[in-house]
């Protein structure tokens, strides 16, 4: 209980205090990006008869990037995907969609190739995400699990400080369910995505 109170307070304090100090100390160019696209479940996560029989849906994310080296940015962001769940729809109490969300941190590397004006990139990072269910009897979530995130795409100039960043990505992590009344379970979550980002560089 104490942790539940202390952590949000610390979080709020960090949001209020950090920017001034952070802004003063940032070494390179900053940018923010919002992405939106499709998400497609893969592996056991999607396989018929295995578990959730997850299907397609959307993925959205917002992240901040900081250039740390020429051609290299580090990022941190919030990511969310929502997909269908065929197995859920067969139960009397679950909604037929599931949400997979959490944070990701990693690096984006520019690939020195391609036609002028286009900047290919690859990204790799760690994710800390959890799977969420909802239904007639409320909502529930798995424990956050750690996994990885791989992606690639290109950066296209748009207008002024804005750039468009289409790409593809693959996310995979293992999450655990700590139940009170039924045996615990773990699940491999994986999905593939095609999305488009809009970045703003300060």
């Amino acid at each position: 209980m104490r942790k539940r109170i202390v952590v949000p307070i610390a979080c709020c304090a960090l949001v209020l205090i950090a920017p001034a100090r952070l802004a003063a100390q940032l070494p390179g160019a900053l940018s923010v990006e919002a992405r939106l696209g499709g998400a497609f479940a893969t592996g056991d996560f999607a396989a018929p008869g295995k578990a959730l029989e997850a299907g397609n849906g959307y993925a959205a994310s917002v992240n901040g990037r900081l250039q740390v080296l020429p051609g290299m940015q580090v990022y941190v962001g919030y990511e969310r995907a929502q997909m269908t769940c065929d197995a859920c729809s067969a139960t009397p109490v679950l909604d037929n969609t599931i949400v997979d969300d959490g944070i990701g941190v990693g690096a984006v590397m520019a690939v020195p190739m391609g036609p002028p004006g286009l900047s290919p990139w690859v990204r790799a990072g760690l994710v800390r995400r959890q799977l969420k269910f909802s239904g007639d009897d409320g909502s529930g979530a798995s424990k956050p699990g750690i996994g990885f995130d791989l992606g690639a795409g290109i950066t296209l100039p748009f207008t002024g400080p804005f750039k468009v960043t289409p790409g593809i990505r693959y996310v995979r992590y293992t999450t655990e369910f700590d139940f009170q009344n039924v045996p615990d379970r773990s699940l491999d979550v994986s999905h593939f995505g095609v999305d488009v980002g809009l970045a703003y560089q300060f």
């Binding site: 949000p8 295995k50 139940f179 300060f202």
Partner: protein, 582 residues
């Protein structure tokens, strides 16, 4: 520019903060079951543990090769309460035959049976006679406890003053002055404790260090002789007394003789009218622990640590074999162990533990059946928590004789509990209930992790009673233990891969019960199944349970729903465990 950088920094800091506050996972049980089912459902040996209004509907998966589940409700209420519930099932497959033994198991050495004078003849044994006797015993104990409890409520002086007052008035059996051949007068009135005494004259037949064996002068001819009584006294000293006092504690000694009086009297036989269904084998009456005199005296008290035993009646045995010399001798030491626990328990509550109430009858009876079990262990050289198989019991004559003398009655009662499981209650002290409550108490003792001595001594030396007492000693919620024990009835030695709480560590009942004469090579569990219907209606007593088998075909799913017959929510006192067995 500075503003933009500051804004950007805010975003960078806020994103992980907002995202990192994880959702708390406080799911309802119904939601947990639903999520669990879409994650693949139960593996063999796993269980859902639900309660009351949380139960609702739940899916059960058939998997690749088909599956079978048991649904085990347990109603945690007083035994005089009843609950009707409806279990509706959609997609339940056709039932398979109920197997007695796990795959690969066999019934053991063919032809040898427990509980029969002719061990090779199945179906003949003392089981049925003992079974019938318990019904009458139940009625007697109920009445006696009610009346003795009233004496206890009035209050009693301390043991020393009671002993002084007894010593001042009496001389025959008090203060170790008795001798073999002495005649003594004892009240055998069993209907009322203090009034209308019915005196019998008894002759002291044997005296040992711990027992005075007295025989009623009105006993039928051709019954026990002096050698029998000497043997009972010797066995009491060598086996029953050390085992029981070592576990439960010493009885009191209000009569100052350091001994227990075992009164073999036809007055016990007389409590069973000819042709009765039940037979009274013996009894202990707590009124004998209260002083005759004083403001709250009980004039009918014998003022002694004593109990009463049936005697052989060869003439009556021609029609009722239970009265034969063979059967009464075979049963006697088990009954003595049983009644001695009642004596120790009551005496310590009155004079040692300063309790305000006697133990509840169902638990007192279960403890007396445990007393029989403890004597069996000592006599056979075996012990608890060894998952004893019938082959272990038949391995030599010492063990087999010990089973037949001390233990087989417990098997008989437990088997009858299984036969009538839906109508039984472990909080009752009828025949089936006592079989169940003994097995439950053994399970709780094994689960506690304490030694038998520590566990049962704590239980007997208590000021609380019933479930509160059991919870205090075990450190767990007794109704949750009963819920788990109800599952173990089916799973123990039958379903592999189950958690320890679904095992019964001391006995392999699946192997033993088929070899008890009256069960005639069957495991006597009656289950419920859907049988082509889409609902099973169940009627449970408080402390009652039932096993419902639910098969599900491969690649199929069954959806079950448990409600009241009218579709309403079940009370929180209804526990429901769903376990995959195959």
């Amino acid at each position: 520019m500075a503003i933009k950088r500051r804004l950007a920094a805010s975003l960078v800091a806020a994103v992980p903060v907002l995202a990192g506050c994880d959702s708390e996972s406080t799911m309802s049980p119904a939601l947990e079951v639903a999520i669990h089912s879409v994650l693949g459902g139960l593996e063999k040996g796993e269980a859902y543990v639900l309660r009351g209004g949380d139960i609702g509907s739940f899916p059960l998966l058939g998997g690749e090769n088909g599956a079978e589940y048991i649904v085990v409700p347990f109603y945690a209420a007083r035994e005089d309460q009843e609950l009707d519930l409806a279990l509706r099932g959609d997609g339940v497959a056709a039932p398979r035959p109920l197997l007695a033994l796990a795959e690969g198991e066999e019934l053991g050495r063919a032809g040898r049976m427990l509980g029969s004078p002719d061990r090779s003849r199945p179906g003949v044994g003392l089981g049925r006679a003992v079974a019938a006797s318990d019904r009458a015993h139940e009625q007697l104990r109920t009445r006696m406890r009610r009346e003795a409890a009233e004496l206890m409520r009035r209050g009693v002086p301390d043991q020393a003053s009671v002993r002084r007052s007894i010593a001042a008035r009496r001389g025959n059996l008090a203060l170790a002055s008795a001798a073999v051949g002495d005649l003594v007068t004892l009240n055998v009135q069993a209907d009322v404790p203090c009034d209308d005494p019915q005196y019998r004259t008894g002759k002291v037949m044997a005296i040992s260090e711990r027992a005075i064996v007295v025989a009623d002068t009105l006993n039928p001819a051709n019954g026990f002789d002096e050698s029998h009584y000497r043997a009972f006294a010797a066995e009491f000293d060598e086996l029953v007394h050390p085992v029981l006092t070592g576990t439960f504690g010493e009885p009191t000694d209000i009569d100052g003789n350091g001994k227990v009086i075992i009164f073999f009297t036809s007055a016990v036989n007389d409590l069973t009218p000819p042709g009765s269904e039940g037979v009274i084998l013996g009894f202990f009456y707590a009124r004998d622990l209260f002083p005759q005199g004083g403001v709250n005296g009980c004039a009918g008290s014998n003022e002694a640590e004593m109990f009463y035993m049936m005697v052989p009646d060869p003439k009556r045995a021609q029609l009722e074999p239970i009265f034969s010399l063979f059967w009464v001798e075979e049963l006697a030491m088990g009954i003595i162990a049983h009644e001695y626990q009642h004596l120790i328990n009551s005496a310590r509550r009155i004079y040692v533990n300063d309790a305000e109430t006697f133990e509840e009858i169902w638990l007192d009876e279960a403890l007396s059946h445990v007393a029989e079990e403890l004597v069996f262990y000592a006599a056979s050289g075996m012990g608890p928590r060894r998952d004893i198989h019938v082959d272990d019991l038949l391995a030599n004559n010492r063990r087999t004789d010990a089973v037949n003398r001390y233990m087989v009655d417990n098997f008989v009662r437990y088997g009858i509990f299984l036969q009538d499981i839906e109508g039984a209650s472990i909080f009752s002290y009828d025949l089936a209930g006592r079989g169940g409550s003994w097995a439950f108490l053994r399970y709780v003792a094994d689960r506690s992790g304490k030694s038998d001595e520590e566990f049962f001594r704590d239980l007997v030396n208590s000021r609380t009673a019933g479930l509160a007492n059991l919870g205090r000693v075990s450190g767990e919620d007794p109704t949750e233990m009963a819920r788990d024990w109800a599952v173990s009835i089916y799973t123990d030695n039958f379903v592999s891969g189950v958690p320890d709480k679904y095992k019964q560590p001391s006995w392999n009942f699946r192997s033993i019960l088929p070899r008890v004469g009256i069960f005639n090579l069957t495991f006597p569990l009656s289950d419920r199944k859907f049988d082509g219907e889409n609902a099973v209606n169940l009627a449970l007593r408080g402390g009652g349970t039932v096993i419902v088998r639910v098969p599900v075909d491969a690649a199929s799913k069954a959806v079950l729903e448990a409600t009241t017959p009218g579709g309403g929510s079940l009370p929180s006192t209804l526990h429901l465990t769903v376990l995959r067995t195959r």
